[in-house]
């Protein structure tokens, strides 16, 4: 394996010239986004530097509890990110479903990837566990956000159709079926498109990183295929769980649409 070319700090600094050019352009065109661009660049730099130090520490220690704490932090952050993204579609009963689906789906996919496909030993080896968990959780977070948002907005904008079905004697499951179907399709669509274009439209980040680090392309694709299957599985399971368990939260125990949903009518 060839060693990777080390980037000198001085030359890395030159990379920021791109940002300066961007700021100049934005100012000239009076687009008014200078502050956002500056903040994003600073945050990106600070977060990555911090991650670099943390991972260096974590990789050198290889302790099960450190890996699990990082996993818990990632899951918590992802769940709260979903809450933030779907704020307008959210009511309290959905929060538990989102958190549960996220934890269950991602843990199952991650366990399958680590124990069955790659057979990492020890299973909590942070060099494998953390980046893979990050990719699985990140993609599932997007899937859940889209799925739950589509389910909620679909139901709230077509409450007359949902109630119309109930009034004809439909069970909540039957009445919600078209909305669940639509939300599930929407939730898994990005990952399906991603898999369709993979390797042709774009080279995925992890594979590019491995190739840059000197890994042979045929070895890099094996990892990429494995991780894509892991991500695909996780997204499918989490979106399935969140839509299948989520629709029930729109109804009360009398098979009626909950008052808080009626109050959120679109």
């Amino acid at each position: 394996m060839e060693g990777i070319i080390q980037i000198e700090i001085l030359y890395l600094g030159l990379g920021y010239i791109v940002i300066l050019l961007l700021l100049l352009l934005v100012r000239l065109k009076k687009l008014g986004k200078e502050w956002e661009i500056t903040l994003a660049s600073l945050r990106m730099t600070a977060q990555l530097v911090l991650t670099g130090f943390v991972l260096t520490y974590v990789f050198s220690w290889e302790k099960i509890w450190i890996t699990l704490i990082i996993f818990a932090v990632m899951e918590t952050f992802a769940v709260y990110t979903v809450f933030g993204r779907v704020k307008k579609s959210l009511f309290s009963a959905l929060r538990l479903v989102i958190a549960g689906s996220m934890l269950l789906g991602t843990t199952a996919a991650l366990a399958y990837f680590l124990f069955v496909i790659v057979r990492v030993s020890p299973w909590f080896a942070p060099r494998y566990f953390i980046p893979v968990a990050g990719m699985i959780i990140g993609n599932s977070m997007n899937g859940i956000s889209i799925g739950i948002d589509r389910l909620s907005s679909g139901i709230r904008s077509q409450l007359d159709r949902l109630e119309g079905a109930l009034m004809l004697g439909a069970t909540p499951k039957e009445a919600a079926r078209p909305f669940v179907k639509e939300a599930f399709s929407a939730g898994i669509m990005p990952i399906i498109n991603n898999m369709m274009g993979m390797g042709i439209v774009f080279l995925p980040g992890m594979m590019t990183g491995q190739i840059l680090a000197g890994v042979a392309p045929l070895d890099a694709i094996k990892y990429q295929i494995a991780i894509m299957l892991g991500i695909g599985g996780s997204v499918t399971v989490t979106v399935f769980l969140v839509t299948e368990l989520g629709y029930r939260r729109f109804f009360n125990r009398h098979s009626q649409v909950r008052q808080e949903v009626l109050d959120m009518r679109l």
Partner: protein, 229 residues
Amino acid sequence: MDATSAARAAIPAPAFTLSEVRFKDVLDIESLQIDSCQVSAIVGPSGGGKTTLLRILNRMTTPDSGFVAFFGQPVEEMDPVQLRRKVVMLTQMPVIFAGTVEENLLIGRRLAEKEGPAPDAVQAIMTRVGLDKELSADAARLSGGEKQRLALARVMLMDPEVMLLDEPSASLDEETEVLIFDLVTEFCRERCKTLIMVTHSEKGFTGYYDALVRIRDGRVEQITHQHEK
């Protein structure tokens, strides 16, 4: 049958019995009885609680307090889904599902997990409600009046024990309105079904109902039976 039991048999059993039913500041009913095999009209000004009353009868809404019985059985003891299969509600704006006219006609029976109707029943009901459309036509493309006829035909095909109609004439022209009233009342009378219709104006109902319940500000103001008029 002696004279007493004959007289008792002539008195229709109540389909619904309500007592001290309250819901927010919308409805406050001390006592109300709606007879079976009869056509009852519920009238009163808009926002007076008429629709809420219908929704309470098929448990789309649960009152804050009070007692509601369906043929003597407290509704809270019944499975709401099973109750709604017997007490079907037709809303003011007809609900049309994605699909063809035929799928929309049959969806009521399918959702209520009933067997499909007899082969000629669908065509017969289409003729009866005056819906002159291909069964394969897209239901979303029907006019407002056609949609209301379709929704009505769907409920008729379900053959429920009670039909709740919430101002079915609101979006209709006068001709369709008369046709709908004629159809529904005839259908219910010939099969001894209970029909409860809501309207904001009693004018259009004259001649159709057996009992008229006047509701104002959520309270029952007056009950008039046709034979008392």
